[in-house]
């Protein structure tokens, strides 16, 4: 089982690399490093603030875009091109295929984030001429971004297990946008009345709440991030992504590959 899972994971990652998905990141890193001196020309007090906001938001946005646009094709492309037929004719369980694909995309996204983070820290070094202990805290923000990828990838995979790629992309992006404003949805649900309250409460708990995972503002202002938030976010991302992946497996197990 482990060898089959790791083979599918590696193949998914290899596909992303050879389809040059990661090339955009090198471009991003180069752009960020190249434009770093411009940040120095902004007022000395906010140059770091701007760079951290732009850098971390870019890592997050690029990753989510890659997660959605590769995620929607993870299953459908294999069915469309019939490559899945030669996989499932072997002793590979359908859940192994789904989980292997999920891991493969996650490896791609982590490598993606790591490469971007290198470019980001390089830009930070050029701007400040040194790295401080406070810059180390930015790792927590990057870690939360990766947790966000865990959730978005699982949600995309869930949609792609029963829907067309275009609808999967629309649904997944909608979930990302709603999830980003998850706190607002919870507040709205608390304030609403009647059937609206029921619907909003249901949506607030069903859809992922990505708001606690966004600590870019805190990181940029050097505000500490509590250990309990790190623990809560880690557990939340793991449980939510496991549930969404399990949903994808349940649907895919029953699917006729016409």
């Amino acid at each position: 089982m482990t060898s089959r899972l790791s083979a599918i994971t590696l193949n998914t990652f290899r596909e992303a690399v050879r389809d040059r998905v990661l090339y955009n990141l090198i471009l991003f890193a180069l752009l960020l490093v190249a434009t770093a001196p411009l940040f120095s020309q902004i007022s000395i007090d906010i140059e770091r603030l701007v760079l951290v906001n732009v850098g971390l938001s870019s890592i997050s946005l690029f990753g989510v875009i890659i997660a959605i646009f590769i995620g929607i094709g993870l299953v459908s492309k294999e069915i469309e091109k019939k490559t899945l037929y030669t996989i499932l004719a072997r002793p590979v369980r359908r859940w192994e295929f789904i989980v292997g694909k999920y891991f493969g995309l996650m490896v791609t996204l982590v490598v993606n984030a790591a490469l971007m983070a290198v470019g980001f820290y390089l830009a930070l070094l050029i701007t400040q001429r040194k790295l401080t202990g406070e810059d180390g805290r930015l790792f927590v923000a990057i870690y939360f971004i990766i947790l966000e990828f865990l959730i978005i990838t699982a949600v995309t995979l869930l949609f792609s297990s029963f829907s067309t790629p275009i609808f999967s992309a629309i649904f997944a992006f909608a979930v990302f946008v709603i999830g980003t404003f998850g706190e607002d949805l919870h507040n709205f649900a608390a304030a609403a009345q009647g059937i609206t309250k029921w619907a909003a409460t249901g949506a607030a708990y069903l859809l992922p709440n990505l708001a606690p995972l966004n600590v870019i503002g805190q990181a940029a202002h050097n505000q500490p991030i509590s250990g309990s938030l790190i623990l809560f976010n880690t557990l939340y991302a793991l449980v939510y992504s496991a549930a969404a992946t399990a949903g994808a497996v349940l649907i895919f197990e029953r699917r006729n590959l016409k």
């Binding site: 490559t83 072997r90 006729n256």
Partner: protein, 310 residues
């Protein structure tokens, strides 16, 4: 133990958007294939060949019935280690090289890493791709892809190989190469189940064939037996051209060379013809039952029920 045993296997698809109706793609198929047999599954496009193979591979789920391969349910992981499958017009991961692709499939099939590389290299030599090196599959010709397809189907040395239209879309040279590969597998004693609508390939390779049309099994048997069922004529050769005028009324065709006559006659008239020739003191040389072609058998099985309905 049969290599393949299919019992009452059926598949219906729901068609329509609002008022869904069931359209049968396969109707209660019963079929057995013996170990070591090369079995041709013949039928026109849309007959249900690919549906049957997809059911056997677990890609779609049956509406009714079941299938066993090597004595176990066809979806048993133990069975899947012992079978190989080449889908129709396959497409493989084109960003991989042939050795990478085979290594991936070998890993998924549970081939031990020790000796895997050697096995892949010898397999690539066997399918005539020993010199492709690290060339990515996106640069392969259709014939090369089909050979890679056969290589992936046998990379784990399966006992039963399922091939869906393995010669489809290939030029004559490509077809010849693939036929050689299948013959090679046959010589090794593998059980081969292949679907095709190219009857000459089935005639050349298969021990037995089945004809399927509109989801129904229309006939199954040894190729020569099926061919003989389609013709009710015999060829009679005798010496004594003088006898021809006495028997010409019962012949369907005749050809005279010197004193030798070669004629065809329907089997029901054969005894009378032989009696008349004896009376005419002609010397009988041979009587040979004529066989139809597999194509004639195929056409008779794929059109007879339509004719009855009409």
């Amino acid at each position: 133990m049969h290599a393949i045993e299919i019992q009452d296997l059926s598949k219906d698809y729901a068609v329509g958007f609002f008022r869904k109706q069931l359209r049968p793609a396969l109707k209660s198929l019963n079929l057995t294939v013996e170990c070591g047999e090369t079995f041709g599954f013949l039928g026109p496009n849309g007959a249900g060949k690919t549906t049957t193979l997809k059911l056997l591979m677990g890609l779609i789920f049956p509406t009714a019935g079941s299938a066993k391969v090597l004595g176990k349910h066809c979806l048993d992981p133990e069975v899947k280690r012992k079978i190989g499958f080449l889908p129709e017009q396959p497409y493989f991961y084109d960003y991989l090289s042939a050795p990478e692709l085979l290594d991936y499939y070998a890993t998924l099939s549970g081939v031990a890493s020790a000796g895997r590389k050697q096995r892949i290299n010898s397999l690539l030599d066997r399918v005539g791709l020993g010199d492709v090196g690290k060339l990515h599959l996106r640069k392969f010709s259709k014939g090369m892809l089909q050979r890679v397809g056969i290589a992936q189907a046998i990379v784990h040395d399966p006992e039963v190989v399922f091939l869906d239209e393995p010669m489809s879309g290939l030029d004559p040279l490509g077809r010849h190469e693939v036929r050689e590969l299948i013959q090679n597998l046959k010589d090794q004693g593998k059980t081969i189940f292949f679907s095709t609508h190219i009857l000459s390939d089935a005639e050349a390779l298969c021990d037995r064939v089945a004809v399927i049309h509109k989801g129904e099994l229309r006939g199954v048997g040894v190729v020569n037996d099926l061919r003989s069922t389609i013709s009710d004529k015999s060829e009679v050769i005798w010496q004594g051209a003088h006898a021809l005028s006495a028997v010409s009324g019962m012949l369907t065709a005749s050809h005279v060379t010197g004193d030798t006559v070669r004629a065809t006659v329907v089997r029901s008239a054969l005894d009378t013809l032989l009696e008349k020739l004896r009376q005419q003191q002609a010397r009988l040389v041979s009587v040979t039952p004529l066989q139809g072609t597999l194509e004639e058998y195929f056409l008779s099985k794929t059109t007879e029920q339509e004719a009855v309905r009409a």
